[in-house]
Assembly symmetry: C2
Homo-oligomer: 344 residues x 2
């Protein structure tokens, strides 16, 4: 596996969403992160000590995590230059970008010369199956969203931890590069070949017989013109018993697409339930998670209360308020008998 | 490109749908096909002369097309053995299977020894873009289906030829291995990495300014639990002005999934229109194509007439009856101004 402690890369980023992988590790694996690397024009911080590559090595870091995202996931010249400097200082490199470290000959040569390793987290396992849609034992929750990057991973991780804290068997199932780096395992769904999307999720979340839950990290949105195919296959492969709808009320338009507005919550929830029913007719919504980071505490509380009233579902900001109301609701409406065989 | 004439492989197949690539070439590129290869236990024929590999070479064949399909697209031991014999006789090999010829060392070695070439039709172009959902100039028709293998490619090819026969600029845009072998170009959509599904179609069918039509070959079905992600991304990338719904009234269950029934035509058409509206709010249905191969001519005519009445749309079996009624309908409801900029 990827050697820790980690040194987290921010580079030249000034887009909070663009550094979500580095941020995710800083939040959920903080004890394994020694510092952050940023250039002078980077206006963001994870609240970790800013270090050079040499200082990171001296502080015990073993791997530089290129925890930044951009549309298409390309490895730009800036990134290559910084990665070469990190290798030179003695750090392994991990990346979740679509474009692979191993496809850049300069990085391959430098890693080889220094006896270091390049980790491409977005390499799916070979031999994923085609999905078959057969019902399998166990309970599954999937987070879905009005858009990309609206809090699906945070919500899923916090739900898993909250269930575990109550003594309920629960596993976070990662489907994106940040989740995989946090969990140490998972399926990089957006890098899977299209015919195997639902099969990859069936493989990620197999039958379970311990009365516990799989908490599956959602991806994209049925309403995102770039990525809705991924979201559709994920819904079908997950066969969720429960959906949690995630939304950022401050988002002005679909991520990366100024010409597309976000869908309404009602429209979005209905579309997700309709799509999910193909492989699990008993799917139901169990909560709404809002990212209220830009609101005052009072406004956030009011918005969640209003949304809860409107939908008849628990609504929280998981980071600010925790997820207990959603857990309570999930537990009261759990299927009484384990869903095992037959389907439509 | 792939050297013709072709020699078409049927192998041990006894499943008509499993030989659809060989059959498609025999129908749409018949002048380029010298014969068919089948073992004694193969109960199917394309109506071409049955030959050995040596006889095919003597008849002028240059390439053996492994035109068979199976779930997962694996290259079994039977297939490898036959391909080795074909190489030994002097034939190049073309394959549309997921598992690549170039990943089988015995085939690579044999091809190299004989100076022959292995063609993997399912290799997508590198550097496909992420879809952006921006409206582009030109008119587009997409075929959609209640299931896989219900006649989408045939319908699309026949629509393209019928438009061309009327002097309308029209291009068939292939999205599957058979269509690509027929057209000589296209995107093997089910082999594209999931994040790039809609972008691949935007790339395949760029803006056109000649008042002509792109006829885009559909894939899968929104109601197929294995492949609906592909169908969703295809709908979004195509931004279709017009949909033609394809259906096989004889299909007992979803292809490969005995535990899933086919959707109703109304439900299926509504779901496709709803999904397509995300990137083209003006999309409309322009026809229904039924595969009536198992019906008597009278029963086929009656079913098409009843379906046309029920939906208020032209309904034909394209192979038996031609597609003229659909072309007439398409032409009467074409957008008057070229759809170019803005969106929702």
């Amino acid at each position: 596996m990827i050697p820790s402690p980690y040194f987290l890369y921010l580079g030249h980023s000034n887009d909070e969403i663009g550094i979500k992988t580095s941020r995710g590790l800083a939040v959920f694996r903080r004890e394994d992160c020694v510092g952050e690397f940023r250039h002078d024009d980077c206006g963001l911080t994870l609240g970790l000590p800013r270090m050079s590559f040499a200082e990171a090595i001296a502080a015990g870091a073993r791997t530089l995590v290129l925890g930044i995202a951009n549309a298409g996931g390309r490895l730009g010249e800036d990134l290559v230059r910084d990665a070469l400097a990190a290798l030179d200082a003695g750090l392994n490199i991990a990346s979740g970008l679509h474009q692979r470290l191993r496809d850049e000959p300069r990085l391959v040569a430098a890693a080889k010369a220094k006896g270091l390793t390049l980790f491409d987290v977005r390499d799916p396992a070979p031999d994923l199956p085609v999905g078959d849609g057969k019902r399998r034992a166990g309970k599954r929750l999937l987070t879905v969203g009005t858009d990309c990057s609206v809090g699906k991973m945070y919500t899923t991780l916090l739900l898993a931890r909250a269930l575990q804290a109550r003594g309920v068997p629960a596993d976070f199932r990662a489907t994106g590069q940040t989740g995989i780096l946090i969990a140490g395992d998972g399926v990089p769904l957006d890098a899977v070949v299209a015919d195997f999307i639902s099969g990859a999720i069936e493989h990620l979340s197999p039958a379970r017989h311990d009365d516990g839950w799989d908490l599956i990290e959602g991806q994209g949105s049925l309403f995102h013109p770039s990525f809705a195919g991924v979201s559709t296959g994920l819904l079908h492969g997950a066969q969720p018993d429960a959906l949690v709808l995630c939304h950022d009320p401050d988002r002005p338009h679909m991520r990366g697409l100024p010409h597309y507005q976000l869908p309404g919550l009602t429209e979005c929830l209905e579309a997700n339930l309709r799509t999910a029913r193909l492989t699990n007719p008993d799917v139901r919504a169990v909560g709404i998670a809002l990212n209220t980071a830009k609101l005052t505490p009072e406004a956030a509380t009011r918005l969640c209360a209003e949304t809860a009233d409107a939908f008849g579902l628990p609504c929280v900001d998981p980071v600010r308020m925790g997820v207990e109301p959603i857990i309570d609701w999930m537990r009261t409406c759990e299927p009484s008998a384990p869903a095992a065989t037959a389907s439509r």
